[in-house]
């Protein structure tokens, strides 16, 4: 029995309980894109053309892949604001860890004065 006074839990436009149903063609295209990006990263890493920036290229491609997984497979495309905020917050907090760890490890060799 639904209480109409309850704070709505789903965004407006959803009246039914099921929400959005995925379309298989979209899913297959996303799948193909992720695999294609993987082939790209393997290829670019083996050529060594980016030198010391190879890691950044790999991480960038990985981020795009993870973004595709999150947006399409994990349904962030249709997610509540708070779900998207949770996902972004986890990345932000991971960022805090990385940036502040690096602030030490990148500057340890530099001597004061």
């Amino acid at each position: 029995m639904s209480d109409p006074n309850l704070v709505p839990a789903t965004p407006p436009g959803h009246n039914d309980v099921l929400g959005h149903v995925d379309s298989p063609p979209t899913l297959f295209m996303v799948y193909a894109a992720i695999l294609a990006l993987f082939a790209l990263t393997v290829f670019l890493s083996s050529t060594g053309q980016f030198g010391k920036y190879t890691l950044f290229v790999q991480l960038a491609i990985g981020s795009v892949q993870a973004g595709l997984v999150a947006y399409h497979f994990m349904h962030l495309k249709h997610g509540d604001r708070i779900v998207v905020l949770t996902a972004l917050a986890s990345i932000f907090w991971m960022g805090i860890l990385f940036v502040l760890f690096m602030s030490d490890y990148m500057s340890r060799s530099r001597v004061v004065g």
Binding site: D3, L6, A89, S90, W93, S103, D104, S107
Partner: protein, 589 residues
Amino acid sequence: MTTATTVTLKIAPPPPEPAPATPNYLNVDYSLWSWLTTVDHKRIGILYLVSITAFFLAGGIAAGIVRLNLLSPDGAIINEDQYNRAFTAHGVLMLFFFLIPAVPGVLGNFLIPMMIGAKDLAFPKLNLASWYVFMVGAGFGVFAILNGGIDTGWTLYPPYSSRSSTSSVVPGVFGVFISGFSSIMTGLNIMVTVHKMRAPGMTWGRLPLFVWSLYATSLIQLLGTPVIAITTLLLMVERIAGIGIFDPMIGGDPVLFQHLFWFYSHPAVYIMILPGMGVVSEVLTCFSRKNIFGYQAVAWSSMGIAVVGFMLWAHHMFVAGISYYSALLFSFLSMLVAVPSAIKVFNWTGTLYKGSITFQAPMLFALGFVVLFVIGGLTGLFLATLGTDIHLHDTYFVVAHFHFVMVGGMVLGYMAGLHFWWPKMTGRMYSDWWSRVAACIIIVGFFLTFVPQFILGYHGMPRRYPNYPQEFHVYNVMSTAGASVLGFGYLIPVFYFTLSLFYGQKATGNPWSATGLEWQSPSPPPLFNFDEAHMPVVVAGPYEYSLGIDQMGRGLPEGPGLGTSNDPSSKHGETAAPGPMNKETHVVG
């Protein structure tokens, strides 16, 4: 606004005293099995209460051993190795098995659904699981202690903990690892509950500040605890496998452990203090019969502490060998977190100003919190400053600082909460006189224990040392004497709380005449918190004491210690004259 006009609002009369719930959550089933398989958040709160009290006692005994040993400059009762194990046990027990679960596990579990007008937390079975996981973790910790203890300090730094220590490191660390999951489960449950299960009309701007502070705490629990999980896992792997990522022999950096450890353990101290701050906001408003000064500021400062608190951990590592530039950054960030804490203190002071203050035990504990937290917080600034920290690091100054905030702050906050909500949880009132005496003894004993430690630390006595030069003798004796007073003070509530269960006056639904939703239900509450046919609908903010209404817009009953004919706040249906501290509020419905 220069003319003072009296506004008469049409406020519903105070509700009649709710009929005692039959059955209530306590007497619905007396069997042990019903307690061990309960999914009722209130019962789970009581399960946590019993267990953490036991760990508090154990941690207190360990503290007693430490302080007794320090009565003599050469170590009075135990040798160096045993001393290492004693202070490690004290730290591990108090931090992981008392302070971190205390307010979220006991008061958070019990009160959050009631304060937001829900029937239970979002995931009741997960809640029960969190208690069992906590007990399993604590079981490993206790096993480690009984198995001779750990001698690494609660901070577990390698390479000593991973390589050289012959003490019971793996069981103890495993206990910490497991109990961390309990913390994550509780935090997750509270966050989802606050997002998705608020009663109609309970907007974010009408949430009690206790809920805000527990929400901020849960955020920290959720995001910080996994890092201590991976850290303890890596430590155990290194110890068991004989090789690992902190091993200097293969290029590993022990300071990396410290980074990972403190990434959690610094926010962990905010897990410990934020709930206490939430309790203080509830108690100060009720016992000064005033709205909180600056609701938005206090709510946002809780979130600010939670977020900024993740960016300052390396102030524990200033002399560990991190880069100077990194230390500068962390020192600056550490000063920054004092700002939201200070905002709260100013707002609490503003709340008290021109309030109708009475001094029941919850209020005494809450006021004690404010004073002791201010001192503790200010001394933290000396430690956050790079130059002075070089002198003060690893001395008793640090010990005094964190005991001021954790004991003077958090434990007093927990006691305030326990005393405030005891009538709701048990349906009984405890002795007013003895509770005030206990509060005073605790606060006096606390000062006597820890103020000498500031002096000791400033003069250079290192922490974790079982012996010291003769010149420090008198301060150590003072500190131990204070610890005995403090210990005695903690024992007194055990008596009057236990006695209250059998002989205490039966409590009404709202004995303190407070405004929150949890007080609109009988004491003790029924199984699903409220009459299921009449779940609460919220129309007002959380602290409308000057308007004399609760969150459902009804009048407040006569509070104890109030109600002299000259006291304007006790006259129902009338407001006090508008003045600088009385905000006009729109009452809906």
